[in-house]
Amino acid sequence: MRLVDVEQEQEVRIVDIQGGKGVARKLQQLSLMPGDRVRVTKRAPLRGPLLVEAHGRSVALGRGVAAKVEVEQISS
């Protein structure tokens, strides 16, 4: 599953970040790495960006970026 398809208020775990080094490195700088739990807090209308929260920090991610983030459901 991709992060871009996750519904609002759902929490998932990052599995992998695809599409070259650029995006992965930028996300790493914001402390978003494979293994992290993220919660989608807002989805902007008109194919806008997603607002995700991880470790108490909110980050806005454009669609293109969120499509490169592979996530999995957290089995509770």
Binding site: K26, G48, G56, G62
Partner: protein, 644 residues
């Protein structure tokens, strides 16, 4: 003693700096770059200390220029103590940077800031335990209220005097430590300032910024680094960069779990504010209200100051000209100089300063990142992303700060494209032309039409440029910090430093250009200029006398209207220009070559080549846009009962 202040964006580092630095702070650039730092002398226990405020950075492994310069500077001999500010509400992320900083092996102190905010979130942070685990002094801080600052600085001073260096926490994976030790032995004291192990880690990760120097001074280590990199990648299945950062990431999480206990959260108004401001419908309504209010205030303040200031300068230049002898060369040049000073003092600054104050406020209160979130979908259609909205908003005030604000974008293609498009937004000076000509003679609906047409053209140009010539934008990745009450001091400092860039760099050009204008007038070269511009004016169907005002419009956009009256020899424009000509002229003025001050700003942010490119492109766009508008105006003229 030199103390370097460093922390992640939104950690309150600038608030701390402004609390202690007073108003005597000086900004400088790292050599050969536009990367800025601020330096100030501070008294600590009777001792003078140089405090350097470095640009906020999430990580030292960053890819952008600012992060590389920061790293180089921190490792250099110049820095005696690293003062690392960590945001208590984002302890885990902050510690990732702290761990990187500790690897540099310099004396270091950590200030955990925003303890009050963390308290409201129900966080309890065990400072002594963290100190124990890191082996570096850790002190609580509420910079906004000035709490903990004294103790932080006395500790920093003591650490600096002892020269007590930080000790990095070893990496868990033995192959990483082995590789570090192997590479480090090549360096012992060979590269100025660098701790051998710190340099080894950097070079194994990436080390682009040190590559050249190392190649020159210790060439035999280069193949060894490559070998180690490959060996690590083979063994761990990932490049060293990821191996190192994953270890720090996990260590920071473990440390946070050990020292931070979460109690009950007491702060819910943040979420409630976001419910409104980021609402899929009301969020946009609120955005419009905020922007409308912002522009109203800026416009009111500006106009109140502009009129009397302009009158005063006009009186002064009349006086001077009479006193020197009107019509003489000297008098004309002096008047040109005074008019140039007036252009900055009476026309630009009265709008620019309230604009910058407003932007600084919106930035510090945390609204701008939310605007970026709301506008991302729209900006993507221009081939940009949400963060690029800032130059566009600023563009409606003045193109100079708009161009300067593109600096916050990481990618060169985003910077270039947003600067190109933002210079086409009608700034306050071009508003004068739109209102003075189109709104006055043809009505406000036509003026509104020009605004909308302007946005349509910008959208088309953005799309064309990004589809045809530029690679795809990587997209929006932006931290959205909590709402905060901004401190007046920080906003004041921001405004002052940004206004100073205009004062020092663009204003002198304005004055020189204004003097050149008077010289040209003195020697009556208007006929020559009109002839030179004949191809343009002919194609646009404008009288050839319009040529000179267009040329001087490059100096300051509103000059094209002021001079038009002179050039056409009429008081009432409707006697010399048809409605269609008015529309064509205005559209051309809105799009063609940005004013001199903007060109100077472009040149500073990009290069001479890019500046010429943008200027050339703007002429082409202006021609095409004006011609299309001309054709369209002919079509709709009967409907609106214009005379053609």
């Amino acid at each position: 003693m030199k103390i370097a202040l460093i922390g992640q964006p939104n950690c309150g580092k600038s608030t701390l700096f402004n609390q202690v630095a007073g108003y005597k702070a000086e900004t400088g650039n790292f050599p050969g770059t536009t990367v800025k730092y601020t330096e100030s002398k501070v008294q600590v226990l009777g001792e003078k200390v140089d405090l350097v405020d470095l640009p906020g950075t999430y990580s030292l492994t960053g890819t952008n220029l600012a992060e590389k310069e920061v790293l180089r500077y921190l490792a250099s001999h110049e820095v005696d103590v690293i003062l690392n500010v960590v945001n208590a509400t984002q302890l885990m992320q902050g510690l990732e940077l702290s761990l990187e900083l500790m690897e540099l092996g310099k004396p270091m102190v950590i200030g955990v800031n925003m303890m009050d905010e963390a308290g409201r979130l129900g966080y309890d942070i065990d400072g002594p335990a963290l100190r124990e685990k890191l082996g570096v002094p850790v002190l609580p801080l509420v910079a906004r209220r000035g709490r903990g600052i004294q103790k932080l600085f006395t500790t920093a001073l003591r650490i600096g005097e002892n020269g007590q260096s930080s000790q990095r926490i070893p990496f868990q994976n033995p192959s990483l430590e082995e590789a570090i030790a192997d590479i480090a032995q090549y360096f012992d004291g060979k590269i100025e300032g660098w701790d051998p192990e710190a340099l080894a880690i950097r070079l194994l990760e990436d080390g682009e910024e040190m590559q050249e120097q190392v190649e020159k001074e210790v060439p035999r280590v280069i193949p060894e680094i490559e070998n180690k990199k490959q060996a690590i990648e083979k063994e761990l299945g990932k490049e060293p960069l990821w191996a190192f950062s994953a270890e720090r990431h996990i260590l920071a999480q473990e440390l946070t779990e050990q020292v931070l206990t979460k109690g009950e959260e007491r702060m819910t108004w943040q979420a409630r504010l976001d419910k409104a401001f980021l609402h899929p419908f009301w969020g946009y309504v609120l955005l419009l209200i905020v922007l409308w209010t912002f522009f109203q205030v800026v416009y009111k303040v500006g106009i109140t100051l502009e009129d009397p200031l302009l009158a005063a300068f006009n009186a002064l230049s009349a006086q001077l000209s009479q006193w020197i002898g009107s019509g003489s060369l000297l008098a004309n040049v002096v008047v040109g100089g005074v008019q140039g000073i007036a252009g900055g003092a009476a026309i630009v600054l009265p709008y620019l300063i309230p604009f910058l104050v407003g932007m600084g406020f919106m930035e510090d209160v945390g609204y701008l990142p939310r605007v970026a979130f709301l506008m991302d979908a729209l900006m993507r259609r221009l081939g940009l992303h949400g963060k690029a909205i800032v130059p566009f908003i600023l563009g409606y005030g003045c193109s100079v700060p708009a161009v300067m604000s593109t600096r916050t974008l990481e990618e060169k293609r985003d910077r270039f494209l947003s600067a190109t498009l933002a210079t086409m937004i009608p700034c306050a000076a071009r508003v004068a032309v739109i209102f003075g000509l189109v709104a006055y003679y043809l009505g406000s609906q036509v003026a509104l039409g020009i605004y909308i047409y302007n946005l349509v053209v910008i959208a088309i140009v953005g799309r064309l440029l990004s589809n045809r010539f530029l690679k795809d934008t990587p997209g929006l990745i932006l931290e959205v910090p909590p709402y905060r009450l901004p401190s007046g001091r920080t906003v004041f400092h921001k405004t002052w430093f940004r206004a100073r860039e205009f004062i020092l760099e663009a204003w002198p050009l304005l004055i020189l250009g204004s003097m050149a204008l008077e010289l040209a007038n003195h020697y009556r070269i208007s006929d020559l200029l009109n002839t030179l511009l004949q191809p343009v004016t002919w194609v646009l169907g404008l009288p050839s006398a319009v040529g000179m005002p267009l040329i001087f419009g490059v100096l300051r956009k509103e000059l094209s209207l002021v001079m038009l009256r002179q050039a056409l020899g009429v008081m009432d424009f409707s006697n010399a220009l048809s409605p269609v000509q008015m529309i064509t002229f205005t559209i051309f003025v809105v799009f063609y070559i940005p004013c001199l001050a903007t060109l100077a700003a472009l040149r500073r942010e990009f290069s001479t080549r890019d500046t010429v490119l943008i200027a050339g492109l703007s002429v082409v766009i202006a021609m095409v846009a004006a011609l299309i508008a001309r054709g369209f105006a002919y079509l709709i003229a009967p409907v609106l009962s214009f005379q053609i």
